[in-house]
């Protein structure tokens, strides 16, 4: 298979969808802010079989192989994160693949619904207005026009705020590694956060993320993972949703994301099943809490302008008073 994705190929796919009458003229989601030209992933839950019989899901395997040189190698012994008597260390559990860890940036989890297995790949949604990147106090996360939200491990202090503000708690911390070690024994930071970076380096070379390529290698046209320009992927998700009479998740959640799940099983049901199984996944409605604050952004323009006019008025009055009083 030719892994190279070109804009021409994407446009062809988009045109095909448009001809099919499903991809064109879709209304923009109210709260989705994706810049034109950004990429997106479609995850079709009706087609993921969890790579049964493969030992390890191909997407997970490809991600681990591709990123193994970037996995953390902590300095031991790792100190507890004072005043807490604990730290995060996954370095002895690198083989874990059933949850997200600093060594496992995509996972495929399984639930049972209607007597059938349902496999759910899970990794960073790469939000359009990501709270993790916007609220990192060290500017360690960047949002690229490709849609990728990328952690810079060189300046990440591991405070785990990105995980706290992520509606899906995606980033995972490894202690004993990173910039914070230079400040020890001061109780600052706690390691480095790790998560999927959408294979930003591959996208820049016009190649799809490793997970998508691996899945396509195994299943060909029946792959549940699709990657391409945002508009094309939105059209694809909508087409598939329409075909199966299902639903799409991720298009509007958290202000819009570049990961679109398509499922026949209602997402509320999937969430309930994971909750029953005490799993970490949820597919609940999520609003972007940054939008609550962005309402005040206009005041940064209006209030200083008003202040300036007020200052001019008062200064003029003061000068007149000085003249009048002979001061």
């Amino acid at each position: 298979m030719n892994d190279k994705i070109t804009r021409r190929n994407f446009l062809k796919a988009g045109a095909a969808l448009a001809i099919a009458g499903t991809g064109a003229g879709l209304p923009s989601p109210k709260e989705a802010f994706a810049k034109a030209g950004a990429y997106a992933t479609v995850i079709d839950l009706t087609r993921c079989d969890g790579c049964q019989g493969e030992g390890i899901p191909k997407c997970v395997e490809a991600c681990r192989v591709k990123n193994q040189g970037r996995f953390p190698e902590p300095v031991k012994p790792i100190r507890d994160l004072w005043p807490h008597k604990k730290h995060d260390d996954w370095s002895e559990k690198r083989e874990v693949i059933n949850t997200l860890t600093p060594y496992n940036w995509i996972t495929v989890e399984k639930i049972q619904e209607g007597g059938k297995d349902l496999f759910v790949p899970r990794r960073c949604f790469h939000c359009d207005n990501p709270p993790c990147a916007n609220l990192c106090p060290f500017g360690s996360l960047g949002k690229y026009e490709t849609a990728a939200v990328v952690i810079n491990p060189e300046i990440c202090m591991g405070g785990a705020k990105c995980k706290a503000v992520c509606p899906w708690q995606i980033p995972q911390r490894q202690s004993g590694v990173g910039l914070y070690l230079k400040f020890q024994p001061l109780p600052m930071g706690g390691g480095v956060m790790y998560k999927c970076d959408l294979c930003q380096d591959l996208i820049e070379k016009e190649k799809p993320p490793a997970c998508v390529a691996a899945c396509r290698s195994r299943l060909g046209e029946k792959t549940p993972l699709h990657f391409g320009p945002r508009k094309v992927m939105e059209g694809l998700a909508e087409t598939r949703r329409s075909e199966i009479g299902g639903a799409v998740y991720g298009k509007e959640e958290n202000g819009g994301t570049s990961t679109l799940y398509v499922s026949l099983v209602p997402f509320s049901t999937i969430s309930s099943r994971f909750k029953e199984a005490k799993g970490e996944i949820h597919f609940n409605p999520v609003s972007n809490r940054l939008s609550e604050t962005n309402r005040y952004a206009g005041a940064f323009l209006a209030a200083p302008v008003l202040a300036a006019f007020g200052a001019i008025g008062l200064a003029v009055r003061e000068k007149r008073a000085e003249k009048k009083g002979g001061r």
Partner: protein
């Protein structure tokens, strides 16, 4: 400028109401910004502040962000007002002058009993330097803060390198701002500075204090014509006992019991 001697009150009107309002809005919004800014660092939960009574909310980053925005709107507006208002009126008293660094050094040494504090105008040289310091830090905080506000808007993609630089600069400048506030308040540890507490609440400063420590300003005020005050110039200055080390202050009182300006 309405600064003038108030003979009936044995005081000098040092600050107008507008200036007091500026100061307190700047101070209160600044303190809120520091608190909410530190709340944006992942430290309140880490250091168990969220476990304190009535402080469980302090772990909510989005709430801190809202508070930070609202306080920042006030902070930026006051800064703009300050620049425009005082700029138009030609107020230059707080802008550092040549020789302020040396004069500040002498002042600090005088606190340790070495030498005498130089004569000052309305503002002490160290106050002018402190003003420059806080203005620079506040300017950096405002510029980087505005970049961060823009960055948080939907559909805005600033270069990750710019975001990293702006964010780190903002965070580090906050530490310098906090140090400035601490130094500002720590100045009150010195008894000699305490007469300046009253004017930042009432606008009025003790006349005898002005006569001794802000000699040049006092002379300017007298030159404006205040005969009854000039007549009171020879009054004893027992109340100024804390002002040791000042030229003409208590430290000099043994040589010149009348506390004359020397």
């Amino acid at each position: 400028m309405a600064e003038r001697i108030l003979p009936q009150e044995n005081a000098v009107l040092r600050h107008e109401r507008i200036e007091l309002l500026e100061h307190w809005l700047f101070a209160l919004s600044g303190l809120i910004l520091i608190f909410s800014g530190f709340g944006e660092l992942p430290m309140f939960k880490r250091f168990l502040v969220t476990e304190l009574p009535l402080m469980s909310w302090s772990g909510d980053y989005f709430l801190h962000l809202k508070i930070h925005y609202l306080a920042a709107v006030i902070f930026v507006s006051v800064a703009v007002f300050h620049l425009v208002y005082h700029g138009l009126l030609g107020h230059r008293g707080l802008i550092p002058k040549k020789g302020d660094l040396g004069a500040s050094g002498k002042t600090i040494l005088s606190f340790a009993g070495i030498g005498r504090e130089p004569k000052s105008g309305k503002y002490l040289p160290e106050q002018r330097l402190a003003y420059l310091y806080m203005a620079l830090v506040a300017g950096i905080l405002i510029a980087t803060g505005l970049i961060k506000v823009v960055k948080n808007l939907p559909g805005i993609y600033l270069p990750p390198g710019l975001i990293t630089v702006a964010t780190l600069t903002h965070t580090i400048a906050t530490v310098f701002f906090l140090l400035g506030v601490i130094a500002h308040l720590a100045a009150l540890v010195l008894k000699v500075n305490r007469p300046l507490v009253r004017p930042i609440f009432t606008g009025k400063v003790d006349l005898d204090y002005v006569r001794l420590r802000h000699t040049l300003w006092y002379d300017e005020l007298v030159a404006l014509g205040q005969p009854d005050v000039i007549a009171g110039e020879d009054e004893p200055l027992e109340a100024l006992a804390p002002l040791e080390g000042l030229e003409g202050g208590g430290g000099q009182a043994e040589e010149k019991p009348n506390g004359s300006k020397g």
